[in-house]
């Protein structure tokens, strides 16, 4: 009997998701035993051509991490969709856009200029820019073509399941792996398409152990400005904690370490826009009815758009900044 095939791919991502998979400790042995590794560029040398050569639907499960921001990402996304039975958007980049998605605050030109010319650490007096095609004696070589807008995986191809998180927590991955092995070895039915795995339907507050009271905010502070009370809700202490508008599943790790939630697990299932919802929730509990005082209080939030959309700009209603 042939083993089911597993593919893991990284598109525009930091590689943390691949590491997170390895972080499941001894469960990785189960993975190795149960699956045939069809494609996993992070840990072994595979060629795209190998994948292209596979028959359609020959890969049982693909864990796709990383956002889609270049031709190459898009090509492989389409390819893996074609070759996989189940395609999972794995991690925040694939599901929400995540940190690579912050590029959507700018346009491609300004990013390129900054990266290759303006950044203080760059020495490029002739303004040489990368070219998609370059003629060399051996022939023409190409590099992937960068998109103006970063997309999430579900925006470009049909995705079966989503495993959120930056990165998804190891225990959650382990649980998913266990469930997948169970389903496949016992021929159980798959969960409905679109299900979010490794997370719950509630928000981060559900897992947060801090004491919560009626919230009335009169002042916003940044994490380094105060020594927070370890037992009291961080938002009540004036921190911009995205926990209420973030899906739970992480175990509220950041907040347990006195760091406000930054929203990496993405929006809970029922909301349309993580940033807008956070604006709504946070502004609602500001304790003032005086327009000037309100302006003054919200003025204390540094970079509201960047804060509220840190992980979810490509997944937001408008998907990118209008530049």
């Amino acid at each position: 009997m042939t083993k089911p095939k597993l593919a893991v791919y990284w598109a525009a991502s930091c590689g943390g998701c691949d590491i997170a998979i390895l972080d499941i400790e001894d469960k990785i042995l189960d993975v190795a035993n149960f699956f045939d590794l069809a494609f996993w560029p992070c840990i072994a040398d595979f060629k795209y051509a190998d994948v292209e050569a596979m028959p359609d639907k020959s890969i049982t499960l693909t864990l796709f991490n990383g956002a889609i921001r270049s031709d190459e990402n898009f090509h492989i996304a389409k390819l893996l969709r074609q070759k996989s039975v189940v395609l999972c958007a794995f991690g925040s980049c694939a599901s929400d856009g995540c940190i690579p998605g912050l590029a959507n605050f700018y346009d491609k030109q300004s990013i390129m200029e900054y990266a290759y010319i303006k950044s203080p650490s760059t020495d490029n007096p002739n303004g040489v820019m990368p070219q998609p095609k370059t003629k060399v004696p051996e022939g023409e070589i190409t590099i992937p073509y960068l998109w103006n807008t970063v997309r999430t995986l579900p925006q470009v191809v049909d995705v079966d399941y989503i495993i959120p998180g930056c990165p998804p927590q190891s225990n959650q991955i382990a649980a998913v792996v266990e469930a997948v092995i169970d389903i496949l070895s016992n021929s159980k039915p798959l969960p409905p398409k679109g299900t979010v795995l490794g997370a719950t339907d509630k928000s981060c507050c559900d897992e947060c152990k801090r004491e919560r009271n009626i919230k009335k905010i009169t002042k916003f502070v940044r994490p380094f400005e105060i020594i927070p009370d370890p037992n009291l809700c961080l938002m009540e202490q004036g921190m911009v904690c995205l926990g209420p508008a973030t899906r739970s599943g992480c175990g509220a790790k950041c907040v347990s370490a006195n760091v406000p939630c930054r929203g990496c697990y993405g929006k809970p299932i029922n909301i349309h826009d993580q940033g807008a919802k956070m604006v709504s929730a946070l502004a609602s509990v500001i304790d003032s009815t005086d327009p000037e005082e309100i302006e003054q209080i919200i003025g204390q939030i540094v970079d509201p758009a960047g804060t509220f959309y840190r992980f979810s700009l490509p997944d937001s209603i408008l998907r990118r900044a209008q530049v």
Partner: protein, 163 residues
Amino acid sequence: MSFEPKILGILCNWCSYTGADLAGTARLKYPANLMSVRVMCSGRVDPGFILGAFRSGADAVLICGCHPGDCHYVEGNYKCMRRIPLTKLLLKGIGIDPKRVRLEWVSASEGNRFQQVVTEYTEQIRALGPFKLSDWAFDPEQSDPSDNGNVAHALENQPVATR
């Protein structure tokens, strides 16, 4: 043809919607550029509605509620009063002119005022020009306008660099 802005109006049921109704029954004319959606209270206005409006092609969003202190629901409008400025900061952060969102208090008896606000705002948005939603839809076939002199190329027939 001159630019006719599309303005989404989100009106509270008790004051502003009634005020708009009064403007209507009093046969006061205001520009047809305003398209109204009724909510029970300005406190129901989720900033997401504003973003949704821009995505759906609005050039501006006008939110009207009861005057502070006169809310039918006691203080729903104060919640709106807090959300809109932060929403404007968010919009500014994602490159949308905050002038494209306006919060006004219009009471049930202020048909005149409703007419004035809508007329004035329509003119303001007309002067501001249309809102262009950039790069929302996913179309990989489209050549990239911000391509630094690179030749446009279709993805399908292009071999992708191998590593």
